[in-house]
Symmetry: C2
Subunit: 335 residues, 2 copies
DNA sequence: GGAAGCGATGTTAGCGATCACATCATGAGC
DNA sequence: GCTCATGATGTGATCGCTAACATCGCTTCC
């Protein structure tokens, strides 16, 4: 307790130099004699000195921390993204501070961003999949580096996003290619952009094939809602192919179909989205679309660092293409 | 860019008071006239002033940030815990900074903790389910508030933990109560304390019932390893009840049993652990054990805050009892 | 040989808050 | 009416660091 942890001047005294020289060594400044550098290094090691990030942040006006705003970090997508962001950030010497919010309304988002700002984070990543989040973001001070992930494509904000439309199109097309006349869709919440994008891709694939899209089955990402939709779909004999907006919805659908005695993939084919690690062990193994969360994290951080270094604004965007992972839940329809 | 964000003195000038008075208003100091307080509040609002956490951290020596060290924040348990910690911390005015590490060896843990220390976090929560983590922790400076979650019960470090033993015992007992002669166990990695605790509880329940525990099936939390163990178990006609160390293992087991034509729960009963949101939609719905992550998070934070405020060391520990959630994957054995 | 250049180092001034103490009314108590 | 506690406010030092400038010795070049 008593002893305060050593500061730069302590190191300087021990090494017989000025604190500024210590600072130079720490920051890899070139103009330091090799011998001096070693002496300083030794002193740092001996004292167990650790630079004070707060002091540095105070004087530079920026901490080495990146704030992340996300809603439900328990969901597989956000959780993966967060982990990937943290890994990537650590490699660049940044720490990641999370500010998870219960709801994605203006107020919550703003509050979370405020908290980050008051810690003078170097930049902010907002995993903002809903409309209301975007509005909140436009009100923010323009001078803080910001990147949104899976946000609103229509807003002039730097954006990294999984290509939901392409992924959904690929999933739908995969089912059409297998010979299905049409494909039903159990969607995510329509006010989530990724949900909307998947709906759009599904619709586009059908229209391109000259098929009128069947009615949408609206879900909310949860297995529970997938199950509810699945019960309905199971009662309609004409349904032979289902694309769900994520794997958990698919799990619910599989369960409902199973209960109704409709076999997958013999009677009905199912394709999911996300490729959760468990998807390969569903009954049957789930064909799904895999977004590359690492790539998203890397791209986001890159965009953020670019802003931090250059101070440039602009609204670049980057799209990460997902890949289809074929497993056992798709088969040609029986006639 | 150009305009630097307003500081306390700016607010003071606008409100016609000294910076110290502003500070008092901000920190809820009592000795401020109501009228002055309002003037200051108005000035804060007008300027959009936001206190600078770095400056505060510098002078007080502690930031309002709690560092969390965890390994795989993609897994359901850690992810839930992290989310819960963040929620709870936010309510107390703390931010949470994650330092996820790839491996839980000395070195990685120490590095992550170092990073947190250099930001002068107020305290650290280590989600340290393995042996090697504990060793790294004992080397740490003693003056930084620290709480471990699911760590080594034998080490003299403040610890909050889900009562793995009790949970596993309940699960095993539930199967015995249903009439099964014995219960097989697909375990987590043995070097994880939660894995070890679940093994211990399973074994204890069997021994208490006068049953010699059958050989352990070692898994690694993944559905893939559950599947592998499940294939083996499916070939042994005497197996009628399986307790898996988590729900994902159970998913793999269910799939293996299904493939082998052994019905659950008619032929074999299965109980999992974690109660992931999807567990209710497995085929069949999974009976499982639900740890209360919110309670764990709350307890951890409480312990941490107590240390922060009092500066007391000590090694209190708190155990959170999980609850059994009965669903459809358990039935009496057929004879 | 002296001005100029440069590399290595030291000195000083903040960054924006808190803390400890000083100041100054104001009203109570004798 | 004068002391004194008390409440409201201001002043100055300080936290640990970096940025900008100052200094000093040594080569380099005409």
């Amino acid at each position: 307790m008593a002893v305060r942890s050593p500061a730069m001047t302590d190191v300087a005294r021990l090494a017989g130099v000025s604190h500024q020289t210590v600072s130079r060594v720490l920051n890899g400044h070139p103009n330091v004699r090799e011998q001096t550098r070693l002496r300083v290094r030794a002193a740092i090691a001996e004292l167990g000195y650790r630079p004070n990030g707060a002091a540095r942040a105070l004087v530079t006006g920026r901490s080495q921390v990146i704030g992340v705003v996300a809603q439900n970090t328990t969901l597989y997508g956000p959780a993966s993204l967060l982990a990937a962001l943290d890994q990537t950030a650590a490699e660049e010497g940044f720490a990641v501070s999370v500010g998870s919010v219960r709801n994605l309304d203006h107020h919550s988002i703003s509050a979370a961003v405020e908290r980050h700002l008051s810690h003078r984070v170097a930049g902010i990543v907002v995993i903002a999949p809903v409309e209301s989040a975007g509005e909140a973001l436009e009100r923010l001070p323009k001078d803080v580096p910001l990147v949104t992930v899976d946000g609103d494509p229509r807003r002039p904000v730097p954006l990294v996003t999984v290509d939901q439309v392409a992924g959904a199109r690929a999933a739908t097309q995969h089912l059409l290619d297998a010979g299905h006349r049409t494909v039903w869709h159990v969607s995510g919440p329509a006010d989530w952009f990724d949900g909307a994008g998947r709906i759009e891709g599904w619709r586009a694939a059908l229209l391109a094939a000259g098929v009128e899209p069947p009615p949408l089955m609206p879900g909310d990402w949860s297995a529970a809602s997938g199950y509810r939709c699945g019960r309905l779909l199971a009662r309609m004999p004409e349904v032979t192919a289902i694309f769900t907006a994520n794997d958990h919805l698919a799990l619910g659908v599989l369960r409902a179909l199973h209960e109704s005695g409709r076999r997958v993939p013999d009677d009905i084919s199912v394709v999911g989205f996300d490729d959760v690690p468990e998807a390969a062990y569903f009954i049957p193994p789930l064909t799904t679309v895999r977004p590359d969360f690492d790539a998203v994290a890397r791209a986001s951080l890159q965009l953020l660092l670019a802003q931090i270094e250059s101070g440039t604004g602009g609204a670049p965007r980057q799209t990460i293409a997902p890949t289809l992972v074929a497993r056992g839940s798709v088969a040609p329809p029986r006639h």
